[in-house]
Symmetry: D2
Subunit: 381 residues, 4 copies
């Protein structure tokens, strides 16, 4: 019923060997300008300033998430049987498109625009002016709405949302593996094959057979290590703070000083303007600022372009006067590898019952008892 | 005599595990603005349009070349003993800095500016206004000149040039391994450890012990495969042609239509303007062109940003009328994995004599006898 | 129609990640005593004396061949469609069982018994007394005969034989990858995924799409390198020569001196005696020989157990008197990575015609023109 | 002062790329008959019955331990400076030789002979009749004693013992990496490079810089996973139990029935008899038992040779009558990835103080709080 590509398309990928595409709607989404724009957004924001090879984009990651969703749909017998073709297409599209709304240096962008990337993603999919919307609509009138309902967890089949966004989802699985590969750390590796092999559906929920529990523990530890080694690295944060300070400084002085390429950031956000807001524009703007008349903006631009980072201290007081001070509060949930509140990872035991992993894994039990506290980091210069 | 860093610095790298830095002058070069600029130039130009993960920069590659040179200097006993500390510093700097002069989309940039990237590299190193020059000069008055003499093969110690640029140099060894890793192909892999272990110096020339010959054959085959699978891929070429056509179109109409960010490309090249000429500027300019009044420029910008590539044919005639036609002549030397003219790879045989590899390897002998012909590729739309 | 296992069985394997088994007959063959015996035969004979980690058995390799055949059958669309279920079972069994007839230190064993391992394999499959025969027969009366006809190339469907034994077969593909992995060399690696992806059936023959030609070139080079680096290594040969000399010496003196465990080697070969002839028996016998009264046998046993190898020379004369001299003639075909006589690798070109790879690959063309000569190696002490 | 080999020897190894040997005494130990014997003892006992590729020997592992010790000695600046040449030789020998005393199927052998493999190792090193003793003695009269003092923790320099046997020693580091590689699981992998880079000496004790703490956590988790996935696997245990039952049955009936090759096991242990006690002898004996007149011994032999394992239950009662019953009590310490009693892993904090890892790692803290209980496994048939 749904259009297939003439022949199966494959894209070489270092994480999954190949990305396999056989539906036309997937291929067309991939070629939409909203999706191609993701090539111009770094997956790891400022992290390439710490791990110099972490230069990969959200484009690559999005393809990876799609591929894991596709494998779940077709290689996990249980899921294969419980979803119809249309549901599979919906969830594969949702996997591919879930990061469409990321702005340049996402955190900064969200704080300036006061909009979450999740909301922007959904708006782009629903906006009749976007290519991606038109592609989806052409395949099935209701496809844009259904994909959005997967992304905002209102889809009648909850499992589809779990595949994209839960404690054990295609999103995290791809980014852990990919970010580990691209940074050259070994910490993010875990046994994706075994997780897929032991994944099951039980009463409409994803769960993992008991024999796969160790691979889940390994995956949770991978998360833990990647948080500490990569995602929360102070130098990456320091770099992103410089960008945030730059934009805020510009915001303050833009009635006196104009950098034309930056102005778009302060206009009302539309799908057209969002398409143009990428990291190339920001970097070009940093260059422009090198020649402006505001000393602070100039200094920040120079720091960003030539990697003069802020210093930082942990849980300490800062004495004396500084040009820049930025205090970051880290919440417990930011650095815990696994939370178990409304959304546990379910283990299917030998009696065919689903129990939360914290009830059967000594490791997870121990992790959840970890002493955590709110941490403060001060960045300054 | 030469300044060392307080403690050895190490940078994580997926190809070499770690990049090791213990000289202050290396560290300072790395932090110079000319070197940091390399983060904003893709290593493989338009290739990330074919292999979506090939998003790495010349910054990473340059660090890798440095690391291989460093290992040659210290881990190859023979080289370690035959070079003094100053020579080692010269050649490590030359490895680190050899790609400094690459413009955005190098081939296009060279054709617009009529300057080779090699020449620009040397000019930057010699230009008293660059940070990199100042860093080198501070360490030793003659260091900039000596590095340039390595790069242009006029250094009294020819071996230093061979380490950076020959048929078996640190440059190629790093890029084959790195490009294979980043594209996710296995073709570029070869046994770097064994090559380093069998590398020797004989009468002031680099050579390889006979027991390492098979690893050299493997390396030559890796080159062959990477040429065909990656470097000469028609879609990558097609993308770069679009960029070249874009710039040439703009050049033609720039007295009527102005894209401010592009103008720098047509001003006299200085170290200051070169610093600003990176790929972010180009991509920002493509965006700007979407709103210009020249239909052709607009169309080309749209093609570049959203990956609408040209079609191509091989060794055939093109009939009919087309908007864009670009004919590429490939020379034999462009796709031969190994040439043996003035600069062979030397094999040190059991009698302690150096002979060209083509005299002892049946594989290389066979490769050099390969029938090659000039090939023509037509790109069009 | 054919019995399936209760649930799919999977065996962890470093080369293929998992070996997948879903037919009962495969599972039962694997558990037969003839197959379990393969755990007691080294895959690479004496090579673990050169590459100390090359300690893997023919059991592991046989599972790997089965797995590649299985993937050919189900993952290559073209093959999947052109074979019926019974043919798939036949060829999977043939892949699994093809090495059943290897004796301990195969070459030596063949020279003593004057029987090829291929013949013994077929005899075991046809012999009503073997467990493996009974297992096959139970599944289908004609299964033993059909498997034998695949192995001796008399099966009506020639393609089945090509999958097991041709210039591009599951046997070689597994052993190159496995032996490279276990020795720790990188030379044997090639892109199995891409070969499988480009494999096709045309007029009942296996062939490879033109777009896969480079991966075939890579595979042929992998063969070339493994021959020279691993399979023909003089120290491995030297070790096997010691074993051959030992057995021949014993044969000569066994009317005076008896080593009970060795006597079986000289009795008529039956499926029962063959089951008992493994490498444990040989090694136990070498130990026993340490205490015998023949000085030469004792010396050879000591050399084998404690790795005192023979010296060797290449293409030279041997002067003087030596206790042991063994001259080996290497034929061209022993060290050529690819021959093209009756059995070429076929490339399917864009016009849908099959042509031998030597007609379209410059690399293969060059390799076939390689100058080869008969080589002589003298082993002595 | 100490003899060096003519040129550095290197052995290819998949875990460490190369094993580097430059001292004659190491080379001679490696060539001693006691060390060569280790090729005939599986590293993982019966585990190759579960993970079919786990066929590697204690020979390979011992070389790996040596290599890690060597790297600690020369690549960890701190250790390099704090040890003299003789101490380095002692500890490298101790690493190489530490497993010399393992009998065939070690656990079974220890229970029959009532001697630990550690004691046998030390006896072999001290026994004037062994080749390994003579090699060591020739290099330095006191070398055998000093190595033994490292192994039994009585050496004046405690750090040498820590390098070989502690919570973070070369032994475990090699076997985790090697066993993971050979089984094809990813669980045992951890970042050896980073551990070596952050290893320090403080007040004569090994410790790890705070910046390496995450790699230690990763290593401890690797231990945890390898215990559960590999070392404690019930099928491996089941196989070893069959061997133990076989030997015990034979012991009981050996006054009626004689298997000559087994008798050596019940004679007084000497260095000469120990040399002959390897796994080939056992496997040959199992074959012999197939023809004996004791039905139970015959059945056990058949089970061992053809992999008919016992069933098993966990923490349950066994009802009914069975031919074989074997109850195993697992102690807490058998399956805890890390204990912290007398021998913690020390972390060197920023104030240059050593603190036990359990005081600074939340993960380790959590692990030590894991609820553990004595577990019972029943194997039966």
């Amino acid at each position: 019923m749904f259009n297939r590509t003439n022949e199966a398309k494959v894209l070489r990928d270092p994480i999954h060997e190949y990305i396999h595409i056989s539906y036309q709607v997937i291929w067309d989404c991939l070629n939409s300008r909203e999706f191609q724009r993701l090539r111009r957004i770094h997956q790891l924001g400022g992290n390439f300033q710490v791990y110099h090879t972490a230069e990969h984009s959200r484009f690559s990651h999005s393809l990876g998430v799609y591929e894991i969703v596709r494998r779940m749909c077709y290689e996990v017998e249980n899921i294969n049987n419980s979803l119809n073709e249309f549901e599979k297409i919906q969830v594969m599209c949702a996997g591919l498109l879930h990061d469409l709304g990321h702005g340049p240096f996402s955190h900064m962008f969200e704080s300036i625009t006061q909009k979450s990337h999740e909301d922007i993603t959904m708006e782009l999919i629903l906006d009749e002016k976007t290519e991606v919307h038109q592609v989806l609509k052409k395949e099935h009138t209701n496809l844009p709405n259904l994909i959005v309902s997967i992304l905002n967890h209102s889809h009648p089949n909850q499992m589809l949302s779990q595949m994209i966004s839960s404690q054990l989802d295609a999103d995290r699985m791809d980014y852990l593996l990919r970010d580990a590969y691209e940074t050259g750390t070994s910490y993010g590796k875990f046994d994706l094959e075994r997780i897929l092999r032991t994944l099951r559906v039980k009463d409409g929920n994803l769960c993992v057979k008991e024999s796969g529990m160790h691979s889940i523990e390994d995956y949770i530890m991978a998360r833990y290590h990647m948080y500490w080694q990569v995602y929360l690295h102070p130098d990456a944060k320091s770099y992103e703070i410089l960008i945030e300070l730059f934009i805020k400084r510009y915001q303050k002085i833009r009635n006196q000083i104009k950098i034309q390429s930056l102005e778009l950031l302060f206009e009302p956000l539309t799908s057209d303007s969002f398409y143009l807001l990428d990291e190339n524009r920001l970097f070009y703007s940093f260059q422009q600022a090198l020649f402006c008349e505001d000393e602070e903006l100039k200094d920040l631009a120079n720091r960003i372009l030539n990697r003069h980072l802020l210093s930082f201290k942990e849980d300490e007081k800062l004495n004396g006067h500084y040009q820049y001070v930025y205090i970051e509060q880290q919440m417990e949930q930011d650095y815990l590898p696994y939370h178990e509140n409304k959304d546990p990872i379910w283990i299917l035991n030998k009696n065919n019952e689903c129990i939360p992993i914290s009830k059967c894994s000594e490791i997870v039990k121990a992790l959840l008892r970890m002493e955590t506290k709110t941490k403060k980091r001060i960045f300054y210069n």
